[in-house]
Each structure stands twice: as structure tokens, then as C-alpha cells.
Amino acid sequence: MIVRIGDNIISALGFTTDENYSAVKSGRSGLRLYDSCMDAPEPFIASLIDKERLNDEFSRTDFPSFQNLESLNLESLTVLEKASILSVLSANKEAQIDLANPRVLFIFSSTKGNVEQLTMNNEQLTMREDKNCSLSIVNYSLYLWQSAQLIVNYFKNPNTPILVSNACISGACAQIAAMRELESGAYDYAVVIGADMLSKFIISGFQSFKALSPEPCRPFNANRTGLNLGEAAATIIYANGASYGGGLRVGARNAMTLVGGAIRNDANHISGPSRTGEGSYRALRSILQDVTPDEIAFINAHGTATPYNDNMEAIAIARAGMDAVPVNSLKGCFGHTLGAAGVLESIVSMHALLDDTILPTRGFENKADDCSLTIVNQMMPTKKSYFIKMLSGFGGCNAALLFNKTE
């Protein structure tokens, strides 16, 4: 069991958790139509971070140590790295821990990192086509570990960061890694960052899968038309529950804990979700060892709004005996934020539960015939103290996390 002691979200809906949570609660969405953006040949709907505000806020950070870091050229930081640093700084305003302490471990989750920097000149392209040779990397920011290391250097943390890249469930894997590291006693605190930015690379890939919706997405809806993508950086700072002195600084009441988590594979197909919801069902079954369905306030599903994903989740949740548990999806507010999704959506759901609230599924109106679930379509109060976060990704991977509000 690990305790949340601080968090932050940077997305189209704001630069703090409060800004994001109130925006969602008041029914707003970050999704907009973009045309001729990021050199993508076709228009797309997405939820993009305000880069001007990001640069402005970043330039106003007065973190004292960066001037001493010769290895860190702040000018050269990418949007992904700046957003991640800002997110950690904001989360630590609440947590107030010494991020440079060796008892603090950074865990970074990203699906595609700085992949937008991967462009080739014609000569390199010709070489590739000629003899299948690989591109020599001159730009080190293409390496995910380099981004993670830069972020850790910024905070002068001495530990090698853990870097998870497990497709769209990365943000859940990072939290499970945090739980394992803290529960083993290796560290006292874990700073879990999930971040992904959009680029032509990612947008074109999802377009090639015919997965992007031409309208704002409609999770679990009849005739849903696919997903929208989104950008975010989100951070949760966790403390070891056992050694944290009963929630000393969080206050004895209303602390959120991550109780358990499981990752399971469909063993079926690298891109198509299982028709029996196999991996997702097994992940849910694993965390249901610690709780009964009637104790669960809600399930925050992956709910990407692709026909196959939502159908798969509906089957998995029903198989796990949770048809009656309210289910929501946040993709209609933030889009699918890839490696950030697991962190971002866990934070919003934690704050909803702390607020005794179940958030509605933006974009959902009429339930699909193939869905026996209880999809939340308007805000509801709750007195229950658990929620489940679900995620699924390419490679057949699925994750489920169980959170609890301790009173």
C-alpha cells in the first residue's frame, strides 16, 4: 500500500490538478479540431497543451539548482521534458519532499518520448532503402532514458530513474513499479511521471489504423467512431504507506492509497483487443482478491471509444461480475494521452473520490447494444471508498489498479 502525497496534471484543460479537475467537473473538454497542424496531411481532433503558456511558466520557474548544472542546457529541453519538470515542481508544492534525497526514486512513463525529432534527410532515407541500414542517432533526446535522466538531473536526484515503456498501459505500470519499489523498502518516496506529446508520427500511425474519430469521441456509445489523441504530463508523488506514520502530513483523513495492481496479457493479437477480454478480465480478477464489487464506487475504464476496445472492456468487466458498478471514461475530456493516460486518469479519479463524486462520461449518450455495463452519464455522489482504474494497450497488455480512500 502506498500513499499519494502530491500530484499534478498539465493538459489542454490546465496546468494544475485543481484546474483540470474543476474543468472536467464543469463539463469542459480539451478536444479541438486542428487543421494543417504538426505537418499532418489530414485534419484531426486532439487535446493539445498550450505551448506558449508552457514556455512562459517554465521560464518563470525559479528552481535554484539549475544554474549549477553544466550538463543541463535548459534551452535545449523539449516540450516533453519541460512539461514533465513543471509537473513535478507543481506536485511537490503539495508533497514538500526533498527531491534530491537518495530515498526518492523517479519513475518515468512515456510511450513515444521525443519521437517527433526523428526526421531524416533524403540521403539517410536513400541509405535505408538501399541496404536496410539503421539511422545513426545524432540527437540523443530521441533516447527515452536521456529524457528521464535530464529530468532527474534537474532535480539533482542521485538515483538512476526507472523508465517504463509499455504502450498505452505505461502509466499504470509505472505506478505498479512504484508500489513494488516502495513496498520492498528500497525507497521511501516515488515520483511517478507520465508524459507524451503528439506529433505527425503518432497521429499518422493512429490514422493508418483507422482509429481516429472525425468527431469528439463517444466512449461506450452506440455507433462510436473511434478515439481522439491528447497531450499531457502528469505526476503523482507516492510515499510508502507503512513508514509514512499513518498519513502524517496528508492528514489522517482523506488520504488516497494505491492498494494493488496487476498487468495481464491477452495472448491473442499485437494490436486487436481480445474478443473475450482475456487479459483485462484476468487483471481485474487479480485485484478483486482485495475488495468486493459492492465496495467499489466506480471503474474508470480505458474507454478509448474505438469499437473494439470498449467492447472488450465491457466483456471483461461483466466477466469479473461488475456489471452493476458504475463505469466512466475520461477520454472525451483529455483524449487518449498514451503513456500519460494511466497517471492522469488515476489523478482525476482520485480527486473525484476525495470529492465523493463519480464523474460522467463525456460524449456518452446511448449505450451500445453489446454493452451490459452501467455507464455513468451524469455526475453522481458516492459514499464508497474504492475505485478501479483500467488500461489496455498494443502488445495485448492490460492493467488494473485498485485505489482506496482511507478515512
Partner: protein, 85 residues
């Protein structure tokens, strides 16, 4: 038409990496998906790219593919009738 069928078989073997198959191994009327060549959903999407790249045919709805990708012969007929290059 026979020429197009043979050309298509070669293209499909190449883009779908059907390494151990020769064009003569693919029957003109054998189903491409399921039991036939055992192609999957990614292969179907890749065939959509092939249609656009080599024949200028743009399929917007992947469901259309189900009709067109029944067999090499059905696919060749469709290309013959709709090709733009």
C-alpha cells in the same frame, strides 16, 4: 486480368511478408482471411495502403475491405474497375 492477378500476388507476398509463399501457392479464389492465407486485421489495413499506393484507390471505411479482400480474383476485379493509376 491474369497479369494483374499475378502482379497482385507478388505485391501481397512482399508487403505482407509472406516469406515462405510463392505466387503459385495462392489460388485465385482462395479466401485471403481466416482459413485461407491466415491474414489478420493489420494485414487488412496494410492492403488498404497497397490499394492507395499502387492503384490510387482510397478506402475510407475499413469495413469496405471485407468485401473487396475476399480473394485475389475479387480484389483484382475491384482494382480493374476502380484504379486511378
Amino acid at each position: 486480368m491474369d497479369e494483374l492477378i499475378l502482379k497482385l500476388k507478388g505485391e501481397i507476398i512482399e508487403v505482407l511478408n509472406l516469406e515462405d509463399l510463392q505466387p503459385e501457392d495462392i489460388a485465385d479464389d482462395a479466401p485471403l482471411f481466416g482459413e485461407g492465407l491466415g491474414l489478420d486485421s493489420i494485414d487488412a489495413l496494410e492492403l488498404i495502403v497497397l490499394l492507395e499506393k499502387n492503384y490510387g484507390i482510397k478506402l475510407t471505411d475499413p469495413a469496405q475491405g471485407r468485401e473487396i479482400f475476399q480473394s485475389i480474383r475479387v480484389l483484382a476485379d475491384y482494382i480493374q474497375a476502380n484504379r486511378k493509376k
